[in-house]
Symmetry: C2
Subunit: 479 residues, 2 copies
């Protein structure tokens, strides 16, 4: 049991902070609400970036970079947008030793400045679609911050596309939602539910907002990425016009979609255990660590050579940069193992003098701690298999946990008891009004995460108002 | 001749702006001094990042992320540092609807906040060296801006390392200088001179600053990357202390080194011609474009199939993402060729009905416009050869240009005439004082770019003061 980590059952929130500290993933910074992403945390973000970026490009998107600072007047151009973001802006008022004529906001998101540029670039339907993504830092002044989950500054990608028709914009919105579902489930091993947000929870300025919602190990929901159909709202505010195929001037239909360093928080709270974080193999910056063990210099020579031989064998099938060697001799073996456990490396291979003799190594899985001797000749075959088994196991466990904590609920008393207790996802009927949602949130802290798809859903009546409901929605307390 | 580009000989500065616009590399933004890096420009930056990042990691560095905002008080902690950067700061004074207690600067560089964190993380010599790099945006409020070369906000990488001894820090400083030399010369095909900056031109707070200087096609120098030995200056200001091997508390020795989107400007001004930019093959996001040409639908079928066959052949040896197909039928062939010329794609392959018959394609080099028919079967062999020939040619031409514009000068009258004329690099003796350098700059606009290595250099006397000089230095007008 890790001495530096509060068990999840004692205090989940402290556990989360402890795990981040123990794994050296991030640190507090001297700037209120801002964090430092340490190398071991940033390496996870780099893997996320690489996987998502490749997928975006396969789907025809290109990257670009727009300014950090946005004139305050831009943000006020779209009415709902300003209402949503104005309270959270950080403003530059002085620069180069002078007071500025117009205050500049550090971007909280870039629809406005990108909309302004698209208006310059797009003239005709031949210029469409525009499929641009940006990797950037953004800032939203938050009062209560929590590492990775909610920080004043965070890193993200924001896709911004412009299209000829509503249908194309809607197709793009759902396509990118599916990219996020794929990424979270297939790469991060985090089961998610993808669906539309209720009207009152949508992105400021959007027509419809879709999100992928995951369940953390405390039963709370975490919105892990969002995709918005912005309709013609921003195109009208920024005059993104084009000549259509009939030579008529039209406003474009735009979308935006984003995912952030928050996903690292989702990863930690989905897979971590009382000893620390567990990184799923497909995402892990270090997939395998080979730890050499010896008592004296004579043993060391043979062990180091054998460790190198195992690495060479595994490097035939894995990216060599994802294999680490631990040949430190200033720490006891147990402490050395613990470093890698707390960093969440999915597979450890221990190599001592006996293993040199036997031409083998002892693999230890991070998820189940199960051990298995693997001969040198079998490494290239068995290690990738084990990594896939770990990947599948992490997903299966998270899925089972979510299933166990998800319940159809039809009456409000049961709902309140459910939310007062261990919580989880309640699938309930709701009358579609903000008033009812607000009342439920006030009384239980639960919010509507996403609407379930209409297909296959039974209709019913709202558990509060008794009014008809076409489908269930997911209620949960949330981060 | 490109109608949308002013010839270099007419106005180099207008040529530079025109080339960027024609190649759709960047655009002006509505925020004073900030630019938008458009997809075709950003793709070059992505290639630069990929090449440098891999090299940094091979040398043991890891990436991390530190906050964008730095308390104003941090920047004032190192005396020279504040003097250098305070006039250029952009300051956040209001956030979340309130005035802040302490003003926060948008980072102009991150030595201070990173120094603060290193002081927390480093305890013992066992924690050293710390080898961290950051990819980030920074801001320096500039009055006169120019796309890529000098913008208020720019993108860069900043490496920050901490070491046990001066010697190790010095070794790191020179090692990273060499990485920049390698990158600029071997990847970007830009010849550079690497050397120390004179005392009065060093980074604010550094012990010694080294730079790589390139010559642009107007004879001016462009500082393309810098590497600083910071001595113990920042370690003392931020109390980065460690217990050494003798159990004594010591201040670390730190370094920092950086390169920016300015290198894209260097690339344009080194290789561009009157028709636009030329991207060296090793850096090019698109290395080859295959243009299909037809007059009717019947021809089109065969041409498209042949274009695909050529792509498949080349994809055997090149990254498939770096091969583009041009199968547009709404533009004339000449206009289609011109798109790729202006984007600087190093090799174009034209495919018409005759080429289908002959099972070949016509390659056209971007640098020399030379044409060569290549049979389908030879593509996988000849295309990479041609790309390497283009790479070598671009470097050789730039080197020859620099040689032709570089002169040893020993008397000040000749020097003045040289700088008043076409300019270039003057290798001259200088007495080592700021006074003399200032006088020369005032009278000729030329500054000292770097000191030449002492080895192999003859000593002499300063062309102004007649005082002894151990080595020549490079004078030039500069960006």
């Amino acid at each position: 049991m890790a001495k530096n980590i509060t068990p999840r059952g004692v205090n989940f929130s402290e556990w989360y902070q402890d795990v981040i500290k123990a794994g050296e993933l991030a640190d507090h910074s001297p700037v209120k609400g801002c964090m430092v992403i340490r190398p071991d945390g940033y390496a996870i973000w780099e893997q996320m970036q690489a996987k998502l970026d490749r997928r975006f490009k396969e789907l025809g998107h290109v990257n670009a970079y727009f300014p950090l600072l946005i004139p305050e007047s831009f943000i006020t151009k779209e009415a709902e947008h300003v209402e949503g973001f104005a309270p959270e802006l950080a403003l530059v008022t002085h620069a180069g030793g002078k007071e500025l004529e117009e205050r500049l906001a550090i971007r909280p998101t870039s629809e406005t400045i990108i909309g302004h540029m698209y208006a310059k670039w797009v003239q005709s339907y031949r210029d469409l679609p525009v499929l641009i993504n940006q990797w950037a830092n953004v800032m939203r002044w938050e009062l209560r911050t929590r590492m990775f989950l909610r920080t004043t500054e965070f890193l993200w990608q924001e896709g911004h596309t412009a299209h000829e028709t509503y249908d194309e914009a809607q197709e793009e919105t759902l396509k990118m939602l599916e990219v996020y579902r794929w990424f979270l489930e297939d790469i991060c091993a985090i089961p998610v539910i993808a669906g539309a947000k209720p009207e009152h929870e949508k992105f400021p300025g959007a027509l419809t907002t879709y999100a992928v919602e995951a369940m953390m190990q405390d039963g709370k929901a975490l919105q892990s990425a969002t995709s918005h159909n912005l309709g013609q709202n921003f195109a009208k505010a920024f005059e993104i016009l084009f000549l259509d195929r009939d030579n008529q001037q039209q406003h474009c239909w735009t979308t935006s979609w984003g995912s952030t360093t928050r996903m690292i928080g989702a990863l930690i709270m989905t897979h971590g255990d009382d000893d620390g974080v567990i990184i799923p193999p497909r995402l892990a910056p270090t997939q395998v660590v080979i730890v050499g063990l010896w008592k004296n210099e004579a043993e060391k020579v043979g062990v180091v050579a054998h460790v190198e031989a195992i690495r060479a064998e595994i490097a035939k099938v894995l990216d060599p940069l994802k294999i680490k060697l631990d040949l430190r001799d200033n720490l006891r073996p147990g402490d050395r193992f613990f470093t890698w456990i707390q960093k969440g490396v999915p597979l450890r291979i221990e190599v001592g003098p006996k293993d040199v003799e036997n031409e083998a190594g002892l693999s230890v899985r991070r998820d189940e701690r199960t051990k298995e001797a693997i001969s040198l000749g079998q490494m290239a075959q068995r290690v990738p298999q084990l990594l896939e088994e770990i990947q599948a196991n992490l997903y299966a466990k998270a899925l089972a946990y979510r299933a166990q904590k998800t319940q159809k609920i039809d009456d409000y008393q049961t709902f309140k008891t459910f939310m007062d207790g261990e919580g989880g996802f309640a699938l309930a009927h709701w009358d579609g009004t903000k008033e009812t949602a607000d009342k439920i949130q006030e009384e239980t802290k639960a919010t509507i995460r996403v609407l379930l798809p209409i297909e296959g859903e039974e209709s019913g009546v709202c558990m509060i108002s008794g009014k008809p409901s076409k489908r269930r929605v997911i209620f949960s307390k949330a981060y």
